[in-house]
Symmetry: C2
Subunit: 204 residues, 2 copies
DNA sequence: GCAGGATCTGACCGATCGGTCAATTACCGT
DNA sequence: ACGGTAATTGACCGATCGGTCAGATCCTGC
């Protein structure tokens, strides 16, 4: 028998725990989630959680690292490239894709990034956001900055708020597939309206 | 001697505690804040905190109730009124003023409203948001809904994110007076761009 | 100056926190 | 069949949690 990629009924325990932890962290907060809750929710004992992950913090790190690294890559590309309209366009779509693809991690990072100051991976994420903000703010008017801030923050938070207020069904699980396509299109359009030099409005 | 409104050096103890608690709840989260922390930060003992407020939850309730009630009033006025452009305009400015005037409470409510499901005052706030969302969504296209969502969420979160990433100085204390004026103007402009039928874009 | 409420505090409570450890069980190559 | 590693668990630890309670201490009206 293969050691992994076996029957789909029971995925790797560490993955189950990671998914459960991310879901809990995102919904009730990092501080508000106990290892016991995670263990219960995933069907393991608290000791098992700590066997797979050295600490609660390690669990958090494992949960959001992929999303943070995607964010870093996106920000780096945008920051060092010139800010042509085309560059802005691809940035917007990549940003929206990141939001949709990493909902839970984004929710977690975005709404608790400030409180989780000490954790290294969170600091990396905060640093990336700061780089992005600098790239935006250099030589821009306040209104222009605000436009960028509202666009990105709005897109981000619209998802989070949507998840917060409108999930009758659990917001966990896998992607909502078909809804995401409409959502993606609408988000890209609205953000583009704000950030691209549509019609006769000045870009800067 | 008067029983209150006396020397400004030491305000009412319950007010000090309330301010400290709100600040802590907003910065490190409700679950992440202990009564001991609040007591230490305010210069009292934990017992004193529980003398003035019956429980941690009561402290939270007292801290955000004013902001929630302002929100309810605003949402009610908007929801029952017809949605003319003028009505939208006054809604926008009132909304921005609410954000600026109740920063900490908004931050707290917005970024933890979901996790604090059980608390009655939080539920009232969530209900108000839902009423607002319904008023917006009824008979609107997805893009239109998204425009509204991004605008309000963006304005809200731009403040929160700003507070999260850009306060060299403590974000506590009183209002930043002069900065707020520029901020207010910029916010109103950007939100208006999105929500008002500027130039030749269709309103609906 | 004294009675009495308002305020403040330390000691204490059971529960739960994150985390350690030794022992047990499941599984796999040989 | 066996040996060893990976996985899982309950017992247990000190610390801290939110909250109670019985005094201290202060302050004020009489």
């Amino acid at each position: 028998m293969p050691t992994d990629a076996t029957l789909p009924s029971r995925a790797r325990a560490s993955d189950e725990l990671l998914r459960t932890a991310l879901e809990q962290f995102a919904t009730v907060g990092f501080a508000g989630t106990s290892l016991q809750q995670i263990a219960d929710h995933a069907g393991y004992s608290k000791s098992s959680v700590l066997y797979h992950y050295a600490s609660k913090e390690a669990l958090l790190e494992a949960a959001i690292t992929p999303a943070i690294e995607r964010l870093e890559a996106l920000v780096d590309d945008f920051a060092e490239g010139r800010r042509s309209d085309a560059a802005r366009g691809v940035f917007i779509t990549r940003f929206v894709d990141l939001l949709l693809g990493e909902r839970l991690a984004v929710h977690l990072f975005v709404s608790q990034g400030h409180s989780l100051g000490g954790i290294p991976i969170v600091e990396r994420g905060n640093a990336a956001i700061r780089v992005l903000a600098d790239a935006i703010c250099s030589g821009a008017t306040l209104v222009e900055q605000m436009r960028f801030g509202v666009a990105l923050a709005g897109a981000t938070y619209a998802l989070v708020a949507g998840a917060t207020f409108f999930d009758d069904v659990e917001m966990s699980e896998l992607t909502n597939s078909h809804d995401d396509d409409e959502m993606r299109a609408a988000l890209v359009e609205v953000v583009s309206e704000l950030l691209l030099p549509a019609d006769g409005r000045q870009t800067r």
